[in-house]
């Protein structure tokens, strides 16, 4: 069956394929380490924000506690390596599993709350997680954990000083989250989740189970966030609660999607492409004295987007109405 939905989805897949090729080829010609670093972080946060978007955008459950799943992913993968000698290329999937599980555990009580109360509950749960890890000696407490330097290999997901392999790992992560969102959009789940977001009463009158829809979205979102956390830990080589679990990560994960367009395929990518380079540039130019300036810039951008383009930057590119008039 060929109609505006199938055509749109085919078009999206082709654009994504094209962008992927560009993202594979272009970095081959970039030698500048700072530029590569910015690209890596942008791709990572594009993926993380897409993971957030699966729950917050498609299912409409605004989480401000994703730092918890992010941090748990990086801790699980790191500790499995340090204490269990399990290579990070395997450990990161354990991190993903724990991230998904944690999202389910948070969702079990919190999805009984609606609207703002769910968002508030996730902030609190995120802070509890942060404080627990800060005071838990087995996981390094406030001192944190160093990831031992190993022979560069794909198994260890360590590549010495070479940034390009990291870039491709992060690119694969970003592409996987995009593909997951694309698949969800076209599936029974995606339709149910969007219905839950728009109108719960109407959704359940059509046989959509609200609670299990939210739980499924949370599990997928948490798992990808945990995976991203594991990759981030490996990239920076050292983790402590402040660097992977602090509340501002929750904001940083949600912001690209909010800026780019909530509940859209391209919103998180577009948002990350704008936000992360700006954040990195402002902090590298301003150094320690500029701490907080990037946050002021985010604030300004959010206000501008909210006033001028509430559907996010992505809506600038959208035709007004697709399909037959």
């Amino acid at each position: 069956m060929d109609n505006f939905i199938t055509r749109r989805r085919r078009h999206e897949l082709m654009v994504a394929g094209g962008l992927l090729v560009v993202a594979i080829v272009v970095p081959l010609f970039i030698r500048d380490v700072t530029a590569l670093n910015v690209i890596i972080l942008s791709l990572l946060f594009a993926g993380l924000s897409q993971a957030w978007n699966i729950l917050g955008g498609y299912c409409g459950q605004i989480s401000l506690g994703h730092a918890l799943y992010f941090g748990m992913g990086s801790y699980v993968s790191t500790l499995l390596y340090v204490h269990g000698a399990i290579p990070p290329s395997i450990g990161m999937f354990a991190g993903a599993a724990v991230g998904g599980l944690a999202a389910l555990l948070v969702g079990w009580p919190c999805f009984r709350l609606s609207g703002h109360y769910y968002a508030i509950a996730t902030v609190v749960v995120g802070e509890i997680g942060y404080l627990l890890f800060l005071n838990w000696d087995y996981v390094g407490g406030a001192t944190g954990v160093y990831i031992p330097i190993a022979k560069p290999s794909l198994l260890n997901l360590q590549f010495g000083k070479d940034k390009l392999p990291y870039l491709y790992v992060v690119l694969a992560f970003c592409a996987a989250t995009w593909l997951a969102a694309w698949l969800i959009e076209g599936s029974r789940w995606g339709y149910a989740w969007r219905a839950v977001k728009d109108d719960m009463v109407a959704a359940r009158s059509l046989g959509v189970n609200i609670f299990s829809s939210k739980m499924a979205a949370a599990a997928i979102s948490g798992a990808f966030t945990g995976l991203g956390g594991a990759i981030y830990g490996l990239y920076v080589g050292y983790i402590d609660p402040d660097s992977v679990m602090a509340g501002h990560f929750s904001i940083l994960i949600a912001l690209p999607a909010v800026l780019g367009g909530v509940g859209t395929l391209w919103g998180p990518i577009l948002g990350a492409a704008l936000l992360i380079p700006m954040k990195e540039l402002s902090s590298s130019y301003l150094g320690g004295s500029g701490r907080g300036v990037d946050l002021m810039l985010y604030g300004a951008m959010i206000v501008v987007v909210a006033l001028a383009q509430p559907q996010g930057v992505v809506s600038l590119f959208r035709r007004r109405a697709h399909g037959p008039a």
């Binding site: 029974r188 969007r194 728009d198 059509l206 046989g207 399909g323």
Partner: protein, 241 residues
């Protein structure tokens, strides 16, 4: 044969009795009107049939099996679909996607759901709006969209909550034709209306509620002559005349 049996259903909200000991049966293939003045308990009874509220007492049976208290999702699975008095559309989705949400309750895969949704839109006269967003529709089109979405779940019983209220006479006539076409497909319909002149020509029987109780049940011609009904709608002065 009775598709739906309502047996002694009562429901109170706080101290207010919305439904008191309501009993009647709905025959398969009929259009039943549920009428009564504002506050008679029509919507509340509707919500009980759709599983949205659990009755305090009594039982509701579909095909002989009790359904009261199972919740809206289970009721939808068993074949009860509904529309809402205040239109509830999925505004971030297109018209076709709205209907696909309903179609997915019977279809496992997107292409199957899409085909079913497309057919339902054609049946409801909305095929030329498939690509519009739900919020772009006019009020009568939104009502039709709700009917289409409900029909896409392939129900046995369709509950229409004031589907014709607030429409112009022409729009209401188109709505009446749609309801008849739905019945001709073999779907039993219960419609809540408080505008009697629209609903009475359409229904085979009507249940009149007043102050939470069944006032009378009967064919439209009997209903309009019933002094109790006239009193409930217009007051004592008119009943005497």
């Amino acid at each position: 044969m009775a598709l739906l049996e309502i047996d002694g259903v009562s429901k109170s909200f706080g101290g207010v009795a919305a439904n008191v000991d309501i009993s009647f049966a709905v025959t398969e293939g009929e259009i039943l009107g549920l009428i009564g003045p504002n506050g008679a308990g029509k919507t509340s009874l509707f919500n009980a049939i759709a599983g949205e509220v659990t009755p305090d007492a009594g039982e509701i049976r579909l095909d002989g099996a009790p359904i009261s208290g199972l919740g809206p999702v289970a009721c939808a699975e068993r074949g009860i679909a509904r529309t809402f008095q205040v239109v509830r559309s999925f505004d971030s989705m297109t018209v076709l996607e709205n209907v696909m949400v309903g179609a997915f309750s019977r279809a496992g895969h997107a292409p199957v759901a899409m085909r079913a949704a497309q057919e339902t839109l054609e049946f409801c006269g909305l095929a030329n709006r498939a690509g519009r967003f739900a919020w772009q529709l006019s009020p009568p089109e939104k009502r039709r969209l709700e009917v289409a979405r409900a029909l896409a779940t392939q129900p046995k019983l369709l509950l229409l909550d004031e589907m014709l209220t607030g429409l112009t006479p022409t729009e209401a006539q188109e709505g009446v034709q749609l309801v008849r076409a739905v019945r001709d497909r073999g779907i039993t319909v219960i419609m809540v209306e408080h505008v009697m002149e629209i609903v009475l020509p359409l229904v085979s029987r009507a249940v009149v509620l007043n102050l939470g109780r069944v006032l009378t049940i009967g064919a439209p011609a009997e209903i309009v002559k019933n002094p109790d009904v006239i009193r409930a709608y217009l007051g004592d002065r008119y009943a005497a005349a």
